[in-house]
Symmetry: C2
Subunit: 132 residues, 2 copies
DNA sequence: ATTGACGTTTACGTAAACGTCAATATACTG
DNA sequence: CAGTATATTGACGTTTACGTAAACGTCAAT
């Protein structure tokens, strides 16, 4: 595995545009090094980008993704105040994830119902075809 | 439980504005009856609205929510073509939900890690306080 | 008769999350 | 050394999902 990555390498790997990556940096989600003017992403930057995309798949706004990313760092250094704040944020995120999980379960069940109805109707149509 | 609902009743119940509800109607997510010009929502409209909000919590765009809502109806009536199309759409949604579920599990684990680190640091700080 | 609570449509405003140029620099490549 | 590829920073455009008035109708209660 490489040590560093260019912006277009990461774009290709994750199927996003370089514009998007620069936008994430602008929004403080990423903070790559520079060689001259060029961005140089290390492995940790790449992981952060992965986390951004995971957050996106869960429908989180970038602002919220940023606070989660910040929690990763905040766990290491910081004062008591900060650490306790982070703990509360962790709880909030957990609550939200649990809600999303329930929503997924419910949606899955609904999909099952829909599919069963569809398959039943399909086989009834095909059955009629055979009868006719 | 009431038979019908006004727009503001539903807004209050679900904590959204009437503007949002009208917007959902405009985007074909809802189709309430009218008494004169006034919208009259029945129980099924209310359930559709619930489904809309569930979709929103999962981060789906309204357009996608609409196709899911359409699947609920498409299961009942329609021709073979339509039914098979719906089945494929069901599969797509299932795949996406499974991805989201994986993302939630991963996020949960990350939150655990973060919290443990935080609690460890907190107790170490408080411990130092006692020692000092 | 008017006030207040609710409803309507029309229309412009806005924040988020990029897309899409344009102009420019830098690097390697034949 | 010209050409091609890749990078940069603006800056304006676009889509989604509403917010926010404005201007008006309706109906019950004071």
């Amino acid at each position: 595995m490489q040590e560093t990555f260019t912006i277009s390498e990461l774009g290709k790997e994750f199927g996003i545009t370089t514009r998007a990556i620069r936008f994430y940096e602008d929004k403080q989600l990423l903070n790559p090094d520079r060689e001259g003017k060029k961005r140089v992403f290390n492995r940790s930057d790449r992981i952060r980008l992965k986390l951004v995309l995971r957050g996106k798949r869960l429908g989180w706004p970038l602002e919220e993704i940023r606070t989660v990313l910040d929690m990763y760092d905040a766990g290491h250094q910081g004062e008591l105040q900060q650490l306790e704040y982070t703990c509360r944020k962790v709880e909030e995120s957990r609550t939200q994830l649990e809600q999303q999980k329930r929503d997924i379960e419910a949606s899955m069940q609904d999909l099952d119902t829909i599919e069963k109805r569809c398959l039943a109707r399909i086989s009834s149509i095909k059955g009629d075809e055979n009868v006719a």
